[in-house]
């Protein structure tokens, strides 16, 4: 059915290809009771489905064991045990024999019976295991009904994924060799799918309601990630138009790729360090491919969110080490300590229901109240620092005492590791993520106790302008080019440089080619952004003279309003 949908632009790029619709296959259950003589046949059907599912999971297990995901392998191992659990078998057999049900009904009902038992448990982590029981039951049902499930990490051919939503776990495990683009019914520009798609350079559109009803599996789709447009069953004319656009962009990319090994050096001016923002080791190859000189922000939340328990020191260490080694000793990797809060809840860690999660118990506040959590993370970071060039970044700092407390913990961890004879980088640098007005105003005080600053313009802009960018009534007020935000950036750079400290920008503003001239003029030492944005930013900087950058910055700092700032940028 020909259709053009205008949804939310999540990640730039054009994708043209067949849709792979991730739809939960409806399996119809025939509730007609079975005669007793049919019971054996239904039992055989059940055991056959379990064998088939077992073979499939065993294949997944060995694949997972060969890949780097120890975590994933263990999850599959648990599912295999559930699959072969005598209690599961007993339950489903009972539904066939005593309940007079056919195999499909017995599997569905038996699973539901066990799921209900799990949902009644008192331990919240164990309650969540109901999902695992449900998943295994669903798998047996699919094998019994002869229905295939799509495995995202091994796609059959190039396609555009169409789904209701993609969990962080699914997005990270995507078969990137075959995924042309993503489109989901749910999600917004700052949702996990969008952020990851941007850093992988995968065109993506989100917030396309009713999509699953309209999209046909295998039908041709055009995705324009930059405009949020999805075209189902395009005309020949539309296809030609978008193919031409695709070719044009590929050519532009080639020109930019030629800059790969060149520095982001201003004309007659300083070099600015361009780094990538990442959320998982999977993004390291893309970062290197786009010429990242380091990782300016490694968001560690996925380790905590994509898990059913607090990640252990070993698990964290192996992830941080993978990134450290992947980027190499000459490319610094800045790891931000745990930054979760009421809006990014963890299933295994009870967090209070807050009226104002952005002004609430989050990030460094949780870590300092629960030092075991921070200690585990810092130990993992310290141990990983022996394998590359790491830096630590504390989020949401508002006071000096937070920095001192965190540093004290870091020193204790270093001491302990020394006594355990575990190597780490003694020069490990520590920084503050400047994202609160308090940190801006106290920048001079904080600068004396850390090695560098990184300015998180996204949250800084929200707090300074008192705007929730996710609130549709006021989202239009959110703009990091607002003079108040620019003056804040200037104050932080000034305080940092007076104390001889490095200062970078890691918010979205840093990857905006329009804004980088301004940031260069403000004296920022580094910019960190989604990897695909690096080449264009580099091209912009190499074409900029320091004199022009300084003049632009001065004029912007004197601008009375946003309109004036935009006029100044438009003139460049």
């Amino acid at each position: 059915m020909r259709h053009m949908i205008q949804a939310i632009a999540a990640a730039d790029g054009i994708a043209i290809g067949p849709a792979l619709v991730l739809r939960q296959q409806e399996i119809t259950l025939d509730r007609t009771p079975i005669p007793p003589i049919a019971a054996q046949w239904e039992l055989d059907r059940f055991t056959g489905a379990v064998s088939s599912a077992r073979r499939h999971l065993e294949g997944k297990l060995s694949a997972a064991q060969q890949a780097t995901g120890r975590e994933r392998a263990e999850l599959v191992a648990v599912h295999l045990s559930i699959l072969q659990d005598p209690l599961l078998e007993e339950t489903i057999v009972r539904h066939i024999r005593d309940g007079g049900k056919n195999a499909l009904c017995a599997i569905a009902d038996g699973t539901q019976e066990l799921v209900a038992l799990f949902q009644a448990l008192s331990d919240p982590y164990l309650r969540q295991r109901a999902d695992d029981v449900g998943d295994v039951g669903r798998r047996i049902l699919e094998h019994a009904a002869g229905v295939a499930r799509v495995e995202l990490n091994h796609l059959p051919a190039d396609c555009i994924l169409v789904a209701r939503d993609l969990s962080p776990a699914e997005t990270v495990s995507l078969d990137l060799g075959h995924t042309l683009g993503l489109v989901t019914e749910l999600g917004g520009r700052t949702s996990h799918t969008a952020i990851l798609a941007r850093s992988l350079g995968l065109p993506a559109v989100v917030g396309a309601p009713d999509l699953l009803h309209r999209a046909e599996d295998g039908a041709l789709l055009i995705l324009d990630g930059g405009s949020g447009i999805v075209i189902l069953d395009p005309t020949l004319q539309q296809l030609e138009q978008y193919r031409r656009e695709q070719a044009l962009r590929a050519q532009q990319r080639q020109t930019l790729d030629a800059l790969h090994d060149l520095p982001a050096q201003l004309l007659g001016g300083p070099q600015i360090q361009l780094c990538a923002n990442i959320a998982s080791p999977a993004e390291v190859p893309a970062a290197l491919q786009h010429g990242a000189e380091g990782v300016g922000l490694f968001r560690t939340e996925f380790l905590f969110m994509d898990a059913n328990h607090l990640p252990t020191e070993e698990e964290q260490f192996s992830t941080y080490r993978a990134v450290a080694e992947g980027m190499g000793r000459h490319r610094p990797v800045t790891i931000r300590t745990l930054d979760v809060g009421g809006d990014k809840a963890l299933p295994y860690f009870p967090m209070p229901k807050e009226e104002n999660p952005f002004l609430g118990w989050r990030a460094i506040r949780i870590c300092l109240d629960r030092p075991e959590i921070l200690r585990t993370q810092l130990r993992a970071i310290l141990r990983a620092s022996a394998f590359g060039h790491l830096r630590v970044l504390y989020p949401m700092i508002i006071s000096l005492d937070e920095v001192l407390a965190a540093n004290a913990l870091l020193n204790q961890c270093a001491q302990a590791l020394r006594q355990e004879n575990q190597p780490f980088d003694p020069e490990l640098e520590v920084g503050v993520l400047v994202e609160t007005p308090s940190a801006v105003l106290l920048a001079d005080v904080l600068a004396a106790h850390v090695d560098f600053f990184s300015i998180g313009t996204n949250d800084l802009c929200q707090y300074i302008l008192a705007v929730d960018r996710g609130n549709p009534y006021v989202a239009k007020l959110y703009d990091p080019l607002h003079p108040a935000v620019l003056r804040a950036i200037h104050a932080v750079v000034d305080a940092a440089h007076r104390a001889g400290r490095w200062v970078g920008v890691c918010g979205e503003l840093g990857g905006d080619p329009q804004a980088v001239s301004l940031l260069a003029g403000l004296g920022v030492d580094g910019l960190s952004m989604a990897a695909p944005a690096i080449p264009q930013v580099k091209a912009r900087l190499r074409d900029l003279s320091m004199a022009d950058a300084l003049a632009l910055a001065q004029a912007a700092l004197a601008a009375p309003d946003l309109a004036q700032v935009r006029r100044l940028l438009a003139d460049t």
């Binding site: 331990d123 982590y125 164990l126 029981v133 252990t312």
Partner: protein, 86 residues
């Protein structure tokens, strides 16, 4: 039949990974191993019944082994629970 009360060492209690380890261990032993907590009973070869014991932080459980080589089986299971961690 031999039995012993053991303290589950893992501070989070008996969770999936550790439970799975116990299942693998029990499957290799000839004796029948069961766990008892209050009214509930679990077969050490059944991960679901182990998880449904709902053993959270700081739990104690009665471990029972019955059959060939039961003493050795009890020791193995008890040692495992005393040292395993998520």
């Amino acid at each position: 039949m031999v039995e012993r009360t053991v303290h589950i060492a893992d501070p989070v209690g008996l969770h999936a990974r550790v439970a799975n380890g116990l299942v693998q261990l029990a499957q290799g032993l000839p004796a029948e191993i069961t766990l008892h907590a209050g009214e509930k009973r679990a077969n050490a070869k059944s991960i679901l019944s182990l998880l449904m014991l709902d053993l959270g932080q700081g739990s104690q459980v009665l471990l029972r082994a019955e059959g060939p080589d039961e003493a050795a089986a009890l020791d193995a299971a008890a040692d495992y629970l005393a040292t395993a961690r998520e």
